[in-house]
Symmetry: C2
Subunit: 223 residues, 2 copies
């Protein structure tokens, strides 16, 4: 078989907001607020994972949530209904990701918290390119999306501190090879903590919550 022809098309959009994100991160350090940027494809289970995680942590930590979406406020409503966290909805006006200035704007509407989750727009591409000021990045890959995703979206997998593999309750109905996906992730990012979870049942959420709790403690100690 002939080799596949590969054409590199030019990148026409680029915005470096790294400096702004670094400044925001320093401000958050001074306030003692750990900001976690949660990313995934649409429908991977970000909001359900957040609800279960907040329930594990809300008696120990004061928690804020910024839900980013192109439109609708269904996610922030769910968080408010089901947890004690303070939740706001950010509308991105059609944009596919949040940058540091939008994140700063959102934070200005939240009280001071130990922990703030930013639920980014459902997208495996753009959110990985734009630093938000978060000091930790977490992504969710659902088994329903396939085990080839680290090969296709390497930047997203490379920048995350934790990779949650969600919907493991239905893994038998999909061609998803857990060993293969872990191998693919490790080639790109050998430092990421990989946690298989089922957000629906809560499986794996305690391990994720314990990691967050440790990170909040370290963030405040290093202040």
């Amino acid at each position: 078989m002939d080799e596949v022809k590969i054409i590199d098309v030019k990148r026409t959009i680029l915005e470096d907001n790294d400096l702004d994100a670094l400044n925001l991160s320093k401000e958050l350090k001074n306030k003692g607020t750990l900001l976690i940027n949660l990313m995934s494809s649409p429908g991977s289970g970000k909001t359900t994972t957040l609800i279960k995680t907040i329930k594990c942590l809300e008696d120990k930590l004061s928690i804020g949530v910024m839900e980013a979406d192109i439109d609708s406020d269904v996610d922030a409503k769910k968080i408010k209904e089901e947890t004690k966290a303070e939740a706001i909805q950010l509308h991105t006006g059609g944009m596919c990701h949040l940058d540091a200035s939008m994140t700063r704007e959102g934070l200005s509407y939240l009280d001071k918290h130990d922990l703030v989750f930013l639920e980014n727009v459902g997208n495996l591409v753009c959110p990985a390119e734009f630093a938000t000021g978060a000091s930790k990045c977490v992504m969710i890959l659902a088994v329903t999306e396939g085990d080839d995703k680290p090969l296709k979206y390497p930047l997203m997998f490379s920048i995350c501190d934790v990779i949650l593999i969600n919907k493991i309750d239905v893994i038998e109905y999909f061609d998803f090879d857990m060993a293969k996906v872990i191998e693919n992730i490790k080639k790109i990012n050998n430092n990421a903590k990989i946690i298989p979870i089922c957000a629906k049942s809560g499986e794996g959420i305690l391990e994720f919550s314990n990691w967050i709790n440790d990170e909040v403690r370290k963030w405040k100690e290093e202040k």
Copy 2:
């Protein structure tokens, strides 16, 4: 319960390539090539759907495929291995979508075909905003992603001529209400043809292929 606070954050990236897309569409009309832009979230089944669809059509039509991805060439390889279509891989250099100029560049590497599929980057946001020159847009929503997606990504659902609801073989394992998603889609886009499919088994693919065949015929007749 208090109302959820909604903050509109500014749109900072915008590029209008509509004119370029319109010109490309006219060029394709002159050539008698129908270009279909296929979009979805990562892992919704674009490549599997394409393979099954091409197999239905390849004895009647000459078909080209442009597979767009941030990285990797797994999709173009699969298409070449499993169908008679001419397939090339476009690397977007980190970009989250294709625009008309990238599409034109890709087309220049393909022979003249009756039908060209552009498999866009897996993303429900940015590809909806950038016209590619395609005269028909098709999207896939997998039942694994949830029935709320039309509410969250309305632009994508509003611009598509066909919406394929994929992975219906596993619908019983997910909280996915087919009647509700159809209702949500119809509120945004009452003209879209909605076809439930299972790309893996081929269910629904004939109906989709028949629609394409009709569109290719009309495209050439109107020339």
